[in-house]
Amino acid sequence: MRRLLAATQQALAAPPRNPRMAVVVGRLLAIAFLLCFGTGLYSHFLQEPEPWMRFSTVPAQLYQVTQGIHITAGIACFPLILGKLYTIYPQLFQTPPVKSPLHLLERASIALFVGASLVQITIGLLNTYQWYPWKFGFREVHWALSFVVIGSLAIHIAVKLPMIARFWTRNSEGTRELRGETQGGETAPDAAAPVAESAPVGGVTGRIFRWIDGAPSPEPAVSRRGFMTAVGVSTATVVALTAGQSFAALSPFNIFAPRVKGTGPNALPVNRTAKAAQVLDTAVSPDWALTISNGPRTVTLTRAELLALPQTTVELPISCVEGWSQMATWKGVRLRELLNKVGADTSQGLKLTSLEKKGGYRVTQMGPEYAFDASTLVALEVNGDTLDIDHGYPARMIAPGRPGVLQTKWLSKLEVEA
């Protein structure tokens, strides 16, 4: 068994499979993970704020940018994590497999780190096109795994810190030893060191190993440069060809993202349709009116009455948690003017209720920083047309810097919270 592991490790040896490469790619991957984690925390607390939390309403594109980074960095993780795993793959076959209880713990933590990271980016990717071929809750598991991944990352960095330091720069001690510039003796513990194996492995496995050994060996410098180039080009490619769903500058190159700017009714993509929200009848009912209340004070306004009030036009993005976003021109009534009609105070938040029959976002909260912002509207028109029913006709909320799921469509009630 031990011989087989050693032979496998030797067969897997390749110039880019060394600790320096693991450090270089690992750094990039860690940056991508931390970007995802930070922007993910922000998105989470926007949706589920603690009572004391207040958020910035400027710039209006804040959430568009943070969530665009979240999804784009998540996509960039695919080539980076595959590159990183490539550099360390021979470690899987290290001998002896377990040296001590601590070593077992370390290997188990790496298995958890690798598995959880792969699952995290995969379910995140599938969520961007609303595909859930599993029975667990996406939001809950993505949230829980983010702590598992970042926690495992911290432990991994702690365990490998001496190694990371030895290979941190081009001129670090370990890197120079790897290049053969110093006499380091037993160098590169990560790269499969030549195995002093006297007895060859027999049978079919032996034949496979001989087939592998019989191949011309790669040129180290070309191989290492080729590896870094492949990782770099892959990362740049997956980003360039998908990030156009989030960042307008890249939208001409968007040939693979699940969303495309400018598609859909009112030239805006749709997340949840009127049909899915079961509002096809209630949204077009002649009885519809928006109720605004503050304790006992209540105002009820029909769509015609809302249209008769002073109208404001704002440019605000609709920015989905799934990463796509789209700038649009909205026209409607300033929310704060409606709130003044019921005597609301600028310290008070709101409870928004939609016509939709069910769904996690049927009833949502809005903090006072958004409710009283000058650009927050009860929108009646978008891009010069009446709101499409899939975009929230007869009236929807649009506020700066909020996730799309909180830009409540098919508004029914606005209640000022005490």
Partner: protein, 149 residues
């Protein structure tokens, strides 16, 4: 360094604990089992299937391309890697689109056609890179032989 490591491990353990806590609070036991199955499957797919396949592909290319300069092989391998990683992200989209999406603005493109065009682009660029590489190699080879002569 020691104190940094202690702090990182403490933070890491706190993260693991919090993750486990959220999982237990928000998911049913059968759902947690589902997550564990996915994690184990991810490791098996990567370590047990994709990585060995990559090794075999690499060895096969080196053996088949004995007479081809290694730089050219490396460029071709790079092209295959870029194409394969992009395909890995796009093939699930193609499949999901065939199953149907919740509304027409989700997965609106012809991803199959785009992927085919993308591979064609990769092939052209890879070939161009090989040509540039070989020209440079020849130029530097003749330059060095000229300087010797």
């Amino acid at each position: 360094m020691k104190i940094t490591r202690v702090i990182l491990i403490a933070l890491g353990l706190a993260g693991l604990f919090l993750g486990a806590l959220i999982m237990v609070q928000k998911q049913r036991p059968d759902q947690i089992v589902g997550v564990i199955v996915w994690i184990v499957a991810a490791i098996i797919v990567h370590d047990g299937i994709l990585s060995p396949l990559l090794l075999l592909l690499d060895v096969w290319m080196r053996r088949a391309g004995r007479r081809i300069p290694f730089g050219v092989l490396a460029i071709i391998q790079g092209g295959v890697v870029v194409g394969a990683i992009m395909s890995m992200l796009v093939l699930p989209e193609i499949y999901k689109k065939s199953l149907g999406t919740k509304n027409p603005t989700i997965l609106p493109l012809d991803y199959g056609l785009n992927l085919a065009l993308f591979w064609a682009g990769v092939a052209v660029l890879t070939a161009a890179a090989c040509v540039v590489y070989l020209r440079r190699r020849r130029a530097s080879a003749s330059a060095s032989s000229a300087s010797i002569g």
